[in-house]
């Protein structure tokens, strides 16, 4: 007996649309932004800020995702170093007014909100209150040279997890005063994890080592926990510790802890509506440019 499956023309159109949209929907994408060059023509900041290792650590982060891609476990990796890391790619369209650029954070293969996972290595600073924000130094002076969590960022498209190797990018007091909540995420956003630093964090070849260790260890789980394990450094309690932190947004403490401990590149666990956040840190960590955490 032979059966013939017949599709109505409208159904064909739906199938074609689904097939066409599938790669965009399903792509697991990583962007890395290593901003090492400062003070030159078209660059931000001054030459004293130039640290070549910033692009090396970005390369280390990207390298593991390239390996996962090779093994069919990831889809795309983009590297946007130095002048390619522009303020516009960290600015939401709705926040263009406060930026000397057009917000373009969803730009395909460039914008930070076009990726599922981003890694940024640059310089940073913070303001604890009125307003509370962290700021990241960008690589191209034709756009904003500082991307601020309050004035530029709003993660409401594809971004799930951000890993930020920059001083003061996850300050406790900024978080306490609401600096990383509604400022840069919506309750409906997919964005849910900001791995960063409270206070200043050291820079050197050792960062490339621990970024490699972190990214390789977090394939299945520990996507927040491994960040703290890898990046923490106690420098004899002399007010210069490296204090990695993780800020997780979600509907409940349990959902947020689950992502911190059990989420990994292969399972970026959802945390529901972003109505609250959890700050993960080491008690007693004491950095420069930040309070001792109790």
């Amino acid at each position: 007996m032979r059966y013939q499956i017949r599709f109505r023309p409208g159904l064909w159109a739906v199938i074609i649309l689904i097939v066409a949209a599938w790669p965009a929907l399903a792509d697991r994408e990583t962007h890395v932004y290593g901003i090492a060059q400062f003070g030159g023509s078209g660059q931000c900041g001054d030459s004293g800020m130039t640290h070549p290792v910033h692009t090396a650590t970005a390369g280390a982060f990207a390298s593991w995702f390239k390996t996962l891609k090779l093994f069919g476990l990831w889809d795309d990796v983009e590297t946007l170093n130095n002048s390619s890391a522009r303020g516009r790619y960290f600015t939401d369209k709705s926040k263009s007014a406060s930026c000397s650029c057009t917000g373009d954070d969803s730009h395909v293969d460039r914008g930070a909100d076009d990726a599922d996972v981003i890694y940024v290595h640059t310089h940073g600073s913070h303001s604890a209150s009125s307003p509370a924000f962290s700021s990241l130094s960008m690589g191209n002076s034709n756009d904003d040279c500082d991307a601020r969590t309050d004035q530029n960022m709003l993660w409401n498209s594809d971004l799930d997890i951000a890993v930020i190797k920059a001083c003061q990018s996850g300050d406790y007091d900024t978080w306490k005063n609401g600096g990383y909540r509604q400022q840069f995420t919506k309750t409906t956003s997919g964005f849910r994890m900001w791995n960063a630093f409270h206070g200043d964090s050291s820079c050197g070849d050792h960062v490339t080592d621990y970024v490699t260790w972190y990214v390789q260890s977090s394939t299945y789980d520990g996507v927040g926990e491994n960040w703290l394990d890898a990046a923490y450094d106690n420098n004899s309690g002399d007010d210069s510790d490296d204090c990695p932190v993780s800020i997780v947004m979600g509907e409940s403490h349990d959902a947020r802890v689950k992502l911190f401990e059990n989420g990994g590149w292969r399972d970026l666990k959802t945390t529901g509506s972003k109505t609250g956040s959890t700050y993960f840190y080491f008690r007693g960590c004491d950095p420069s440019s930040g309070r001792k955490l109790d």
């Binding site: 093994f71 394990d229 440019s289």
Partner: protein
């Protein structure tokens, strides 16, 4: 009067001991006082530690490997009962993770006990006592903010025991183990970056004087765009990876520059003609 002068002079000499100035930099060389010896400890981490059997024995797993997944050319994940073990001999990485959800309530565990349990686990995996350096136990805390409410009182989530790898008392750059225990003391996770040591090819000492190292540090810092500031110099071993995954250690000096406001504190590696 003469006694006063002598005391003042002595204090000046004491204060300047271990400090050296060179072209805008003020070097603290106190940690270079003893030159590392050119010997490896007899017991060393070997590639055998990255085989499946020792790891399973270390966590007391009786079950067989149920599922295995290859994540890269050299990294394999194996699922055994309520554990997942990731082994990578080429990277020198070993990750043991409980797949059970951790219970974060359940009292507290004494720090000495956590240290002892962590060292015991590392020894059973194959990390020799002679490679264990600084051991620190830290409490990983959480605090929550719902909506615009004030943050909640911090809660203990897990204990972390950090173990630095040291050879002859000198830290090996990038090598450490972190053992995680639930508040009840139950093992939750162990993450090691601790490659096997090669039997040959190490360069563990130097004939350069502190003065020569200081001059060299000054040159290297200038090349990196630094011009002035307080700099702490300390020994470190830089691992050089071999094709087998083993590493050979090369002595170097880490020059850590005191941070300037708003800048990352940098550590720059200074070669010391190790031999």
């Amino acid at each position: 009067m003469r006694t006063m002068k002598t005391i003042a002079l002595s204090l000046l000499v004491l204060a300047s001991a271990g400090l050296a100035r060179a072209q805008g930099f003020q070097f603290d060389t106190s940690r270079l006082a003893t030159v590392p010896k050119a010997e490896l400890p007899r017991e060393r981490m070997s590639l055998r530690a990255f085989e499946a059997a020792p790891t399973l024995r270390a966590i007391g797993a009786q079950e067989k490997v149920e599922k295995s997944e290859r994540l890269s050319r050299s990294r394999v994940a194996e699922f055994i009962g309520s554990w997942r073990v990731e082994r990578d001999p080429l990277e020198g990485s070993l990750l043991i993770a409980s797949t059970r959800e951790m219970v974060s309530s359940g009292g507290e565990t004494d720090e000495m006990k956590l240290r002892a349990m962590s060292i015991d686990l590392l020894n059973r995996i194959g990390v020799p006592q002679s490679e264990l350096g600084r051991i620190q136990v830290r409490s990983l805390m959480t605090t929550d903010a719902e909506g615009k409410e004030e943050p909640t009182r911090p809660q203990l989530l897990t204990y972390k025991t950090f173990v630095t790898r040291e050879i002859n008392g000198i830290p090996v750059e990038g090598h450490r183990a972190v053992v995680s225990h639930a508040p009840s003391g139950e093992l939750h996770r162990a993450n090691l970056r601790w490659p096997a040591l090669a039997s040959t090819g190490h360069k563990l000492t130097t004939r350069l004087s502190v003065q020569q190292i200081t001059e060299r540090a000054s040159e290297v810092l200038k090349r990196e765009g630094e011009r002035e500031g307080k700099v702490l110099l300390r020994w470190k071993y830089v691992p050089m990876k071999q094709s087998s995954g083993e590493v050979a250690l090369v002595l170097a000096v880490g020059a850590r520059i005191q941070p300037k406001p708003g800048m990352e504190p940098r550590e720059i590696t200074v070669p010391v003609d190790a031999q």
